[in-house]
């Protein structure tokens, strides 16, 4: 009797849990699904119904939206985003791995102090450096180019990634490395042939996060990029919304979907790296 009561109780609580998960989940996901469906709706229908299924599927919003309102198409902005993001991701992975290797596997004078500094910069708000950094980069002649993004990435400038990599490397067994030292490998060969390959998952999750952050970055391009020719997707979208005022919302929704697409694709392609990345480093967001 008692156990039957317990079973009934468990079933009810399971039911409530699922009901909550589904209902709350729908609230979470609905805006994202809606923006996709809105891109396929006619402009009148967008405001009329809550439905995720368009009454009549419209596809020319993608074509017209892509052409943009000004001199440049979204193709240009899209390409610019890749031109900016790919080197940033590449250099971030290389530089952060090298630096983490130094911290994780060597002893050198002031190492503790450096590590403390690294951890403190983790918590240093970016905005306090914003203005002098702009003035500095302006003096270097880097404004209106992608250099303010790419060159710092060569110097392991995101402490999150360095920290995450150090944590990861500390978890790796040292025996193989020690064997390689006995075989006469130097430290760089060890990094290249042994430690590096073992860090592949951490490197991938670092790359994914850097890709998504840089892809979505708005304030950076807003400050450093002036000419429309060099606009990123974020700036292009903003320009579109500002100039379009009340017209063609479905085109704007279509471009919004396009802007989000690379992140969605990466997210679904690399979910396990994602979770690993967040769990090991405690990444912001």
């Amino acid at each position: 009797m008692y156990s039957q009561n317990k079973i009934v109780k468990n079933t009810i609580s399971l039911f409530i849990t699922y009901a909550f998960l589904i209902l709350f989940g729908l609230f979470m996901i609905y805006p994202l699904l809606w923006v996709v469906s809105a891109a396929f709706k006619s402009n009148d229908e967008i405001f009329k119904s809550l439905s995720l299924f368009p009454q009549k599927i419209v596809t020319d919003s993608f074509i017209k939206g892509w052409q943009g309102t000004g001199q440049y198409t979204f193709g240009r902005f899209f390409a610019n985003n890749f031109i900016l993001v790919i080197p940033v991701v590449f250099f971030t992975i290389i530089s952060s791995t090298l630096v983490a290797y130094g911290f994780a596997r060597f002893n050198f004078p002031l190492k503790r102090l450096f590590f403390v500094i690294l951890i403190s910069t983790l918590m240093l708000p970016d905005s306090v450096n914003l203005i002098p950094r702009y003035i500095l980069f302006n003096a270097f002649g880097w404004v209106d180019s992608y250099k303010p993004f790419i060159i710092p990435s060569m110097f392991a400038s995101t402490p999150f990634f360095v920290f995450m990599m150090i944590q990861f490397m500390r978890g790796l067994p040292r025996e193989i490395e020690e064997a390689a030292i006995i075989d006469g490998c130097n430290s760089f060969q060890i990094l290249l042939r042994i430690t590096g390959p073992l860090c592949k998952t951490a490197m991938i999750s670092m790359g994914i996060f850097q890709f998504i952050w840089t892809w979505n970055d708005f304030l950076g391009p807003l400050i450093y990029i002036n000419s429309v020719e060099k606009y990123t997707i974020a700036l292009g979208l903003r320009m579109c919304v500002d100039s379009a005022a009340a017209i063609a919302w479905n085109q704007i929704m279509a471009m919004t979907v396009i802007a989000m697409l690379p992140c969605i694709i990466i997210f679904f392609a690399a979910q396990k790296y994602f979770v690993e990345g967040i769990a090991t480093s405690g990444i912001k967001g």
Partner: protein, 298 residues
């Protein structure tokens, strides 16, 4: 042997060198200069001119937008951080249960977070909360009359803050990772002792996740104080400056009016406020965080 050690030390230093150079050039130098500029009048056309405390006096006595932006920013932090973290914890606890299809739910709850403070998601938000937008349409189904979510100065900040709350995914994943590490023996022992669920939550779960709670609190607070893109795109700081944040005041002064000195002074005030808040969380954490090993302590 010692010569060998020295050489190895140098090699280690060599690996760390890129970070060290980057730190000096892109972090330490700007940090010092931002302090210096905050005492200057600097438009970038002429060399900086030392004006003493003028920027700070102006900020606190003449700039009408500053107290407004400061208050709005505090409001934003106080709305978003606790809500975001409580949602993250609540959902993480549910997602920690062994249920069928749990991975799908994890994906769904995390997905909004990958877009962070992007323009795309901010545009979507603006659209959802417009007067004739989807949120009001939805309320209409229940016979509730539409609210002017973004147009009413009393509500706009709340509507804008919801965007950040919606993106609780990464805090959630951190909680989830920690919850999985709690040894089940603890709960089993408590069960034997006849502890209630609430008791188990407050006596086992909360202490065990407290370091992550601390980390989330610090990070989310620092981020919330610097929020820019969301409010900038959704409302542009309006209506009647009700969503105008410190970061926008800094941006406008620096890149619209080219008052670099004043903007630097503002960013220092923002920095000091963040510092005070983080210091408070750090100090208070000694009373409520629990560490199994002492190295875990900051």
């Amino acid at each position: 042997m010692t010569a060998n050690l020295k050489r190895k030390d140098l090699v280690g230093l060599l690996y760390v060198l890129p970070w060290l150079v980057g730190f000096l050039v892109f972090k330490l130098y700007p940090f010092i200069m931002s302090f210096v500029y905050s005492f200057c009048d600097y438009s970038m056309l002429k060399p900086p001119k030392f004006v003493g405390l003028y920027n700070f006096i102006y900020m606190f006595t003449k700039d009408e937008l500053f107290p407004k932006a400061l208050l709005n920013t505090l409001k934003y932090v106080i709305i978003t951080v606790p809500l975001k973290i409580s949602f993250a914890l609540f959902v993480a606890i549910i997602l920690n249960m062994k249920l069928k299809g749990i991975n799908l739910f994890r994906t769904v709850y995390y997905l909004p977070s990958i877009f962070g403070g992007s323009v795309a998601i901010s545009i979507l938000w603006r659209f959802l909360f417009m007067k004739e937008g989807i949120v009001n349409k939805f309320l209409g189904l229940f016979g509730i009359e539409g609210i002017n979510w973004l147009g009413d100065p009393r509500i706009a900040m709340f509507s804008v803050s919801l965007l950040a709350v919606w993106q609780f995914g990464s805090s959630m994943v951190l909680f989830l990772a920690r919850l999985k590490e709690i040894p089940s023996e603890l709960y089993e022992a408590a069960l034997v002792d006849g502890a209630s669920r609430l008791k188990m939550f407050t006596k086992i779960t909360l202490p065990m996740i407290s370091p992550i709670m601390f980390f989330n609190l610090v990070m989310q607070t620092i981020n919330a104080f610097q929020e820019f893109t969301g409010p900038y795109i959704i409302t542009g700081g309006g209506p009647v400056n009700s969503t105008y944040l410190l970061s926008m005041l800094i941006y406008d002064n620096a890149f619209k009016y080219f008052r670099m000195g004043y903007a630097a002074a503002l960013s220092w005030v923002q920095f000091v406020i963040i510092l005070i808040f983080t210091a408070f969380i750090f100090r208070s954490s000694t009373y409520w965080t629990y560490y199994e090993y002492d190295e875990g302590r900051f």
